[in-house]
Amino acid sequence: MDGARAVEIRVEGLRKRFGELAVLDGVDFAVHEHEVVALIGPSGSGKSTLLRCLNLLEFPDAGSIRWKNETVDYRSMSPNELSRHRRRMGMVFQHFHLFPHRNALQNVVEGPLYVLGEKESEALARGRALLDQVGLADKHDAWPSALSGGQKQRVAIARALAMNPEVLLLDEITSALDVEMISGINELLTGLAERGMTMVIVTHDLAFARRVADRICFLDGGRIVETGTPEEILDRPQEERVREFLRAVLGEGT
């Protein structure tokens, strides 16, 4: 991490409980401009919740959130401020969550038309270009129900990109896909990374994390246990908990 890069978003002391369960137990975390960060760790370690706290789909119980140089006062935000904060970051979900009553193109232009207030002709042109870009040139009018999992996820990515986000939040977006779909999506993300898109990726795909991420954070029990370059985390982990996890996932060294 060279210190010259500007910070996009930084959280400190982030805590979140669901009833008795402390899902985030004091997380300090930052993403820099043009950086790709992968969040890995066992299930229930808090990766997804951390991601959802960044764009305030979940409100943290405690801790601070800073966007660039301004404090995000999530305790007293107006609906408009909340909307503005959320649309700085695009989000893609494991189960796509496309709007089933709108076709592919309508899904993509929904945000630009009704949140950004773009002109219809403009939004549609940009939406078509985005769908072409994610490899769905022939599926503009298709209903989500007529698309394969991989195609749905491409629409979801285009829908997130259509908002011109500064950061992309990806929540296990290949976990629900067939193996042959995954490489296509990963290629797409690699391309985005190469063009300088800032991304936070929650993933179980360690090979992909190694290839695309600048930095990997390992979470366990609601805390960031270790953070470093892919080589540092995947090849020379310092923490026993990380080694244990890698052994279990990669089936090595048993």
């Binding site: 989000m91 969550h97 709108r102 929904e110 945000g111 949140v115 298709a142 989500p144 007529a146």
Partner: protein, 514 residues
């Protein structure tokens, strides 16, 4: 011989199976020994017919009915039925005779046979003691009665403020007691009974007898023979003093036999000839002829039914959506108010809501503005919209809750506000999934409009009942009304299905694959 027996068994089986089928010709006597003679009365016309503390029918009519049945060699079976439905019941074969103080009128003679008058009475105005002039008075009367017809055809003698129609004499007494009316027209003996008993407040007969009328026992037009036998029994009862005994017991005075016999003389020419029985059945109009005569009235009712249904459907879809969305509002008071609304409306019967809308809400508003702003139609529309709104809201609430949670996440991550997410993402999906149930609500609504007859609107069902009164036929009007309902509901169903298909188009793409 054998073949004859077979035919007989087939006919017997058919007849037994079809006894529930209304209609003059198919009405079959049970094949068992000694069938009872069934006689109907309202049970709400003291002292002629009422019920005792065990619910048995008692009174002058009841005793006369029992005595006649006994003399004809039948076991008496007394049937209590609302005055409004008493003729339909006779025509559909629910009983053999109406022994319920029915005045003999030319119109009724067109659809029924009557026996000799079994008592002569008359119409009389009764009023509060302080009433000196009927001008501006509210007067109560039994609906579909000779008294009601008399009042409406003699407006010069009744300069009243309003005529209020009731379903039974008992309701008229209740209305007198609660100051809803200040006078009523009834049978002089019935009214006299209440004057003596004091059940209707401080009332007195007002003015002279309006007219004299004779009450007879009514029979279907295929029962001329039964009418003759009843006449013989009546004659015997008058001769041997049984009639006088029953009369004294209930009326408290001796009968005026001279008047009764004079009426018998006047009625003699209206006694049905025995030969008529065959003639009547032969010159019956055809099915189509009978049906086509009824259709204009029924169609008028159907139009009102359709108007109420469509207007309510349209309005209740809007209000139902608003209330339905309100139940998932974050503002606690909206959530509570809408939930309470659904609870309140679904927890009370539509009929009660109609009465409240008509008698309470409309009355209050009309008094406030000083003229009749909300009539019966408006009141009915309000009640139907209020009712259907609650069901639509509840249906939609279910649909909203059933939309996958991830849809909220996805829309929120695009920066959509809660309100916009509801409008653009959640509601369209909820509506699409709830449409079959909303369509069902619409079908239920169509049939529920039959209740607005209770607040004087002549919709399809009420129109059918009116046709029954006019023609004396029960089968055809109701079957035709059912047909009208089926047509209306089929059209609605087809329209809703088409809309469903349109909204479901986004799913049809995978219809085959799933």
């Amino acid at each position: 011989m054998r073949r004859k027996t077979t035919y007989f068994i087939i006919i017997l089986v058919l007849a037994t199976g079809l006894t529930a089928w209304p209609g003059e010709t198919l009405y079959a006597q049970p094949a068992t020994d000694d069938p009872p003679l069934r006689l109907a009365m309202s049970g709400a016309f003291q002292p002629f017919s009422t019920t005792d503390d065990q619910g048995r029918l008692v009174g002058f009519d009841a005793d006369i009915a029992r005595e006649i049945a006994r003399r004809l060699g039948y076991a008496p079976e007394l049937v209590q039925i609302d005055w409004a439905g008493i003729q339909a019941g006779l025509h559909s074969g629910k009983y053999d005779l109406i022994c319920g103080s029915m005045a003999i009128t030319p119109e009724r003679l067109e659809t029924m046979h009557f026996t000799l008058p079994y008592y002569v009475s008359g119409a009389q105005v009764f009023a509060r003691r302080n009433v000196t002039d009927l001008t501006g008075v509210k007067i109560g009367v039994l609906e579909d009665s000779t008294y009601a017809r008399y009042i409406t055809s003699h407006p010069e003698r009744f300069p009243v403020a309003a005529i209020v129609y009731y379903g039974s004499e008992a309701e008229i007494v209740a209305a007198m007691n609660t100051d809803k009316i200040e006078a009523f027209v009834s049978d002089r003996i019935v009214g006299g009974f209440y004057v003596k008993k004091g059940g209707a407040g401080d009332i007195v007969p007002f003015g002279p007898l309006l007219y004299e009328e004779a009450c007879g026992i009514a029979a279907r037009r295929d029962s001329a023979r039964l009418v003759h036998r009843v006449n013989e029994a009546l004659l015997a009862m008058v001769q041997d003093g049984a009639y006088e005994r029953i009369y004294r017991k209930w009326v408290g005075a001796p009968p005026d036999l001279t008047t009764l016999l004079t009426n018998w003389g006047a009625f003699a020419e209206k006694i049905p000839p025995l030969a008529e029985e065959a003639a009547v059945t032969k010159k019956k109009p055809t099915f189509v002829e009978r049906a086509s005569g009824m259709i204009p009235l029924l169609a008028k009712g159907a139009v009102l039914t359709l108007e109420l249904t469509l207007l309510t459907a349209l309005l209740a879809l809007l209000t139902g959506s608003l209330i339905g969305v309100g139940t998932s509002s974050r503002a606690r008071w909206i959530k509570r108010a809408t939930t309470a609304y659904i609870w309140l409306v679904r927890g009370t019967p539509l009929l009660v809501q109609l009465f409240i809308s008509y008698f309470v809400l409309a009355t209050a508003i009309n008094r406030l503005v000083g003229f009749e702003l909300i009539g019966a139609f408006g009141a009915a529309l309000i009640a139907l919209v209020v009712n259907t709104t609650a069901y639509n809201a509840e249906t939609l609430r279910g649909g909203i809750n059933a939309v996958e949670k991830g849809q909220w996440d996805a829309a929120a991550s695009l920066g959509m506000t809660r309100r916009r997410i509801m409008r653009r993402v959640i509601l369209p999906q909820a509506f699409r999934d709830a449409l079959p149930s909303l369509g069902n609500n619409l079908v239920v609504l169509t049939k529920d409009t039959s209740l607005v007859g209770a607040i004087t609107l002549i919709e399809l069902t009420y129109a059918a009942r009116n046709v029954v009164f006019q023609t004396g036929q029960a089968f055809m009007p109701f079957v035709l009304a059912a047909g009208f309902y089926l047509v209306i509901i089929s059209l609605i169903t087809v329209a809703v299905r088409a809309w469903e298909r349109y909204l479901q188009r986004s799913r049809q793409a995978v219809g085959r694959a799933i």
